[in-house]
Symmetry: C2
Subunit: 137 residues, 2 copies
DNA sequence: TTGATATGTTTCACAAACCTAACTTTTGAT
DNA sequence: ATCAAAAGTTAGGTTTGTGAAACATATCAA
């Protein structure tokens, strides 16, 4: 398979949001995407078209939005990262939940697959080590 | 002092680059900024004007560029983060130098001051703990 | 001093993502 | 079945950051 252009941070966020809605409400609607991402409805339409062009979602005008297998794969990867990073910031670093969430949202796009894997291994080791818990202030 | 708009990631990168050049070559020139950031000279001019408007650099057409105290303060903060994060990825996670550098460059903008502080404390604790070194693969 | 070359600037164009406001389609209550 | 409200789309703007290419200035060797 040819190496595709990497997705923009924004498009990745859309995929992630669509996955969440799909999971929680069985179906993703334009309005809910807009609300969740704090973006106007009109802007969402344009981005949905882009995602559809990239075969990442199934999109028909005025219809529901669903992830294609490829889109879902990417969305799940982002979601996993998000969850992991948020947990790291909140539980390990004791950062406030909201901030942890925001920070995770920024960083989930920044690491390569390999780097993220190493980070996960690292946190796993830390978690298994009782005397390396800093008291974060 | 009133809370200013936060700088864009891009403008922060410019400040960081200017600081590096200023340090290494005593003076920052447009061409060197362009080369280091892999951006065309013409684009640099526009961004220098923005930085000057924000009182972060001293800029005269056809002149050298220097950081104002305020600009230097910000640049140093970014640089510190960069160095710290790069070190974390390279030394602790054993990520390849180049990748570590790239990743740091993305992430240095993503954390709040507080969060970054907690992260630093965390790494310090880890470093002091001999048996929590994962063998990253 | 002069003029080629390097450096800096300007202008115009462009892509990505967004917004606003008007318009269209769908939905749901009656 | 009808028609208002809700949801979705479209068209036209805006902002940010960039590139290309022409133009302006500075520098330096002869």
């Amino acid at each position: 398979m040819i190496n595709k252009e990497p997705l923009s941070q924004s498009l990745e966020d859309y995929l992630e949001t669509i996955l969440e809605l799909q999971t929680k409400k069985t179906v993703a609607r334009s309005k809910d995407i807009a609300e969740k991402m704090d973006i106007k409805r009109g802007s969402v339409t344009g981005m949905l078209k882009k995602l559809a062009q990239n075969n990442l979602i199934n999109y028909e005008p005025y219809g529901y939005v669903t992830l294609t297998p490829e889109g879902k794969k990417i969305a799940m990867e982002i979601e996993r990262r998000h969850i992991f990073l948020k947990d790291f910031f909140a539980r390990v670093l004791k950062v406030d939940e909201t901030i942890a969430d925001q920070t995770a949202c920024q960083m989930e796009h920044a690491m390569s697959k390999q780097t993220f894997q190493k980070f996960k291994n690292f946190v796993k080791t830390i978690d298994a080590c009782p005397n390396c818990r800093p008291d974060n202030n």
